[in-house]
């Protein structure tokens, strides 16, 4: 009897916890190497916002990470998200690159059970980082994004400040409302392989030795080729 009551309480807590009363963000990174995919999923309980809501993600990228706006433009034509991006120099290494702010517009919410859900996948790329004498790989941290809504927010407790951003398909600016959300992840980490400065001495000497010797070899060969 006591066990049954205990089980009932546990189950009850679990069910209420599952249907949280706060917006939720889920993030993960797919693929490996220098070209990854950032997957973001947003859950907002229907009780908190209006039906016809649009949302916007404001990403703050560290210098080591970037989005290629031309790639995203092509991706948009194949069903990818709308976005707003500054000019990006895709060739510079991390040390010569700034922080960048990107705006992504996920697709419309769909109602799944008691929540509005939407997700978006964005291809991201990692820049070359300078070589290190201590580590094989370096970590990049991507902070959690800011979430904005363009609609009537019923529950004012999740509301934060308002900001101007371009409305989705039009160039005009609209007034978006930032909202709080809960998430399990503090920030996402990317591992980047870097060159080893331990190798520097041997790499320089061997490379230059090989190239100079081959240069002398070919020079002498050419000078001894018989050309009338």
């Amino acid at each position: 009897m006591e066990v049954d009551l205990f089980m009932l309480v546990v189950l009850g807590t679990a069910i209420t916890a599952a249907v949280s009363s706060s917006p939720n963000l889920y993030r993960t990174v797919r693929k490996n190497g220098f070209h990854r995919e950032l997957f973001t999923k947003i859950f907002i309980p229907t009780s908190l916002i209006d039906a016809k809501c649009e949302c916007l993600i404001e990403e703050q990228f560290p210098p080591g990470l970037y989005i290629d706006p031309y790639e995203l433009k092509n991706y948009r034509e194949k069903g990818g998200p709308q976005f707003d991006s500054p000019a990006v120099d895709i060739e510079k290494p991390k040390e010569l690159s700034p922080n960048l702010v990107f705006i992504i517009y996920p697709q419309q919410f769909t109602a799944i059970g008691p929540e509005y859900v939407t997700n978006v996948t964005v291809p991201v790329h990692i820049r070359y980082h300078q070589p290190s004498s201590r580590y094989d790989t370096v970590q990049i941290q991507l902070k959690n994004p800011r979430l904005y809504l363009l609609c009537q927010v019923i529950d004012k407790s999740i509301q934060m400040n308002k900001k101007q951003f371009p409305c989705n398909s039009v160039d005009n600016n609209c007034l978006w409302t930032e909202i709080k959300y809960k998430t399990d992840v503090i920030n996402i980490e990317f591992d980047v392989p870097v060159g080893s400065l331990h190798h520097q001495g041997s790499v320089i000497s061997v490379t230059l030795a090989v190239t100079i010797v081959c240069c002398l070899y070919l020079s002498s060969k050419m000078l001894h080729t018989h050309v009338k």
Binding site: G33, P193, G195, S196, L197, L208, C215, V227
Partner: protein, 449 residues
Amino acid sequence: MLQTIPYKIRIMNVNVSVFTFTHQKRYFRFVDEATRSTGRDVEMALQWEIKTALVLALLIRTGVVLYGEWQDRNSIVKFTDVDYNVFTDAAEYMTQGVSPYNRSTYRYTPILAWMLQPNITISPLFGKVLFVLFDVLSGYLIYVMLMSEKTGQDRSLQCAFMWLLNPLPIVVSCRGNAESIMSFLVLLSLRLFQQNRIILGAIVYALSVHVKIYPLTYCVALYLYYSRNNKEGGQRLTLQWIREKLRPSKENTTLVGVSLFTFVILTGTCYQRYGWNFLQETYLYHIVRRDIRHNFSVYFYMLYLTAGSPYAGIIGLAAFLPQLILIVVCSLKFHKDPPMAFFLNTFIFVTFNKVCTSQYFLWYLCLLPLVLPSLTMSISKGITLIVAWLLGQGIWLMPAYYLEFEGMNTFFWIWCAGLLFFLINIAVIASILDSYVYTPWGRGIQKQE
């Protein structure tokens, strides 16, 4: 219907059989302005074999372009190169009357963006069709030049096939890279110099340097070619010998004058219209290029590791000097045979360059068919070298893939593979030098065959 007809081809007393297509598809008339000259010494009538070869090359490339369109629409991995999108975007800016350099990573002459405007107004395929045409014309120029050197119909056709049926230029052009424009311009300038049409040759040469800088490495060889008739006073490599070689002949003055004039006009006009951006993106970027990302170059890892070091400048210079020395030696030695001088120059330039991507290989591959008849190498040795060269690239691509797409730290292995590929290239150059037999080139030379 395919008929195999064995052709006996004599490559310096070695008999080899080859197959050739005899099925005629349709006639295709090429009007070749460059071969119209007074007193043709070679029968340049367009034989049906070369016509068939050109048509076949065109059909193959058309097929690959159409396949590329299908793959673009139906697969995540695109067939078309990113560069083609860059060209198209730059051309779109051109149609709007804006500078093409608004498109980031557009690093070419504005003439290219201007030429590709029909990509926007007519069809996105226009550029690819243009590149394919230049590609096929390059093959035709190879044939014409070899025939003019009395290489013989069969061998000339075989060498032209080396370019026309070669998968590397086919794939590169059909993916939308503009390399075929360079191969066409370089081959055309060689053809004009072969016919001693110096003014036209100098104009085309200056145009080729304007489009991409690397033909500038040919300038010493070209200059010396036109002073080859200067009396060689004294022994080799004495000051007197050098002075005699450098003394400008009438042809040299024309060559230098017309080239400089054309180049200044072209560059000046573009600078006037597009400003500093044009100079920066078209020339300075390529000269000062410090692309530390992984590539075939033997210097890649060294430059990456020393990028932030105070010795970066000296190391860069140490990497530049072998290139410079070898180009000068090569020009001094082979200037009497410009195709060989150009070929070796470019091969050395690319092998010793600080950055090396697969597009660069086409710069010297288009000249290889011209040089082949001068090589006494056996076919089996040639094939071994080609296989080793391809294998070297394959061996490099493996750790590169693991670095870029799996995030494994394979830098050391990429460096080793880069060294290996470098040494394979050196071996290929050495073999070519060993098997080279000089024959005089160009009009107005007494042939002693």
